[in-house]
Amino acid sequence: MSESSGIAVRGISKTFGSGADRVQALDNVSLDIRENEFFTLLGPSGCGKTTLLRLIAGFEQPSAGDILLDGVSIAHLPPFQRPVNTVFQSYALFPHMTVAQNIAFGLEMQGMARRQVDERVAEMMTLVQLGGLEARRPAQLSGGQQQRVALARALANHPKVLLLDEPLSALDLKLRKEMQIELKRLQLESGITFVFVTHDQEEALTMSDRLAVMSDGHILQIGAPAEIYEHPRHRFVADFIGEINLLDATAAEPNGNRVRYRLGGSQTLLAEAADAPPAGRVSLAIRPERASLEPAGEEGLAGAVESIVYIGADTVYRVALADGAGNFIVRVQNRAGARGAFAIGDAVAVVVPPEAIQVLSD
């Protein structure tokens, strides 16, 4: 990873208040965001995503640590001197200005000549497909249109970095999907680094080049979407991203380059051994779509079908494992011609390929 381009967050901590009201919003957070990257901060409400974004924008001062942009510290600069623009969660459009005036604001602050400002505004209006709405006021726009204006206003200055704080959360599902594609297109076309905040894991997976999963002021894991999805390194990450089965287990005996894990009673599962397989009590994380259902007697986890939910493309089976080993969700694709092979109450075997198991230390 290049040290000198992109954003480098170095050991940032941020506390609010003091005494009994003290809140540690961020605790020793470090991360590198590469140039031209679509980087997402993902985490539950209150984990510190907005705080991290506001520190990068300059609205808050870090309690400790440093922030570098292209190798130069920007932590001491006021927000108006940082080549960073923000799309606020509430859009924060100026209500007393028209759409065109809103977009022109940052350009005027740079001291750009009137004619160039007008040109750039027209360019931005086309980019976000708002042609014809120049003279409207924000209050006369729909949520999606306001969102586009906020985007155009932040992009007009050609910042090095664009910060987006849950910009899509106020939109309905259909518009949200459209804007996701639009945002991705804008990011590719402009070549600007996007730092995107969301607590929607699906949004994070589909849009990001890389993402950081945060919890309680910490970054738990940073990686590409597939890496985070396939190889979560924390129970929290596994649980937060998509649906997953988490089974308590203890390591039994190694078996070649695999390890056998013991669940409850006589149930065991064979998993690929990592470089340093965790010993003692562990969690086995298995995606529902990576397991399959076979008739009882096959090599696998014994159990009985407890419920069946048909959801169009897939059918989701919930299996109660024998010996109190817990429940297991299996997601089976519905293929043409295939009939529902199992009914509620059927004894089944849940078959899990060893490479589908992610072993997490507790």
């Binding site: 924008a57 927000p79 923000t86 606020f88 007393h96 209050a139 200055n157």
Partner: protein, 301 residues
């Protein structure tokens, strides 16, 4: 019909609710104003009062013209000048009050909510003291050898008496002090509603503090600023006690002029006509305000 009954009873109830206010306004506002209007079109009585049977527009003519010996009308701008002087003094007072009031209101709006009510209370303190007491206090402060004068001399900042008392500036200071809450409270009300994220957005887009103030904060507080200016300007225009005491009665203001007509000059119709001219100016100011700031910026549809 139950609905019809409900509706009728509702209008009855509304009438009962607003009735006292309407009666109050009619008796205590409308009747005196109509009476004054009527008086302004009457002949003056020899020893004050009016001759109720003789109608004339002399009072309004006398505002701008003077009768020569031969009875021809000559333009006389004396009264107009008094109006203009009062007008400029009120403008000065309004500007001074705005310069003090806006930062005060801004500071208040930035405080944690639990301190704000205390600050509002503190700002209204001028209302709690008697008008005369306030003005005499300012005389003590402003006169040569008074508190401010001797403090400045002691600090070595001045070597001659400041000679502020009995000048229009002293009047403006006294009026500003009295009307400061009228300026601070409406501006505070509009700044308090201001979404501070808009200011952050301005910073984010490259505006420094000064330009964020000029381009975002002041425009959004404009309705409050305009309301405050009107609320200070109007009473300043007709102020009587403060110009008399702090201005030393040296230069006549509208308030004193009107008072004179009902008092020493015993010219009630002229006093009433002057009061009506003042009322006209005030109404004009309000109409301009309403036309300009009828809708707050966020609510335009």
């Amino acid at each position: 019909m139950p609905m019809g009954w409900f509706r009728r009873s509702k209008t009855h109830r509304q009438m009962a609710l607003i009735g006292p206010a309407v009666l109050f306004l009619a008796v205590l506002m409308l009747i005196p104003i109509v009476l004054m209007g009527y008086v302004s079109f009457l002949e003056r009585g020899e020893f004050g009062g009016v001759r109720w049977s003789d109608h004339t527009v002399d009072a309004y003519v006398a505002f701008l013209f003077e009768r020569d010996f031969d009875g021809s009308l000559q333009l006389n701008t004396d009264y107009l000048q008094i109006f203009l002087r009062s007008f400029w003094l009120s403008i000065g007072t309004t500007v001074l009050t705005l310069l003090v009031g806006f930062p005060t209101a801004f500071y208040m709006a930035l405080q944690p909510p639990r301190y704000r009510n205390l600050l509002i209370f503190l700002v209204t303190i001028p209302f709690w003291t008697n008008l005369l007491v306030r003005n005499y206090a300012w005389i003590l402060l402003l006169r040569n050898g008074g508190l401010i004068d001797s403090a400045l001399a002691w600090l070595g900042l001045t070597d001659a008496p400041i000679s502020v008392l009995y000048t229009p500036f002293a009047v403006a200071i006294g009026l500003s002090y009295s009307y400061l809450p009228f300026m601070v409270l409406p501006i505070y009300a509009s700044l308090e509603k201001l979404d501070f994220r808009l200011v952050e957005a301005a910073f984010d887009l490259g505006a420094d503090r000064r330009r964020a103030l000029a381009r975002v904060i002041i425009p959004l507080a404009a309705p409050g600023i305009a309301a405050g200016c009107i609320l200070v300007f109007i009473p300043s225009l007709g102020a009587y006690v403060t110009p008399e005491l702090l201005g030393g009665g040296k230069s006549l203001m509208i308030g004193s002029l009107i008072q004179n007509q009902f008092g020493a000059a015993r010219n009630w119709p002229f006093g009433a006509a002057l009061a009506f001219a003042l009322l006209g100016i005030v109404l004009l100011a309000i109409v301009i305000y309403l036309l300009r700031f009828r809708r707050s910026p966020g609510e335009m549809t």
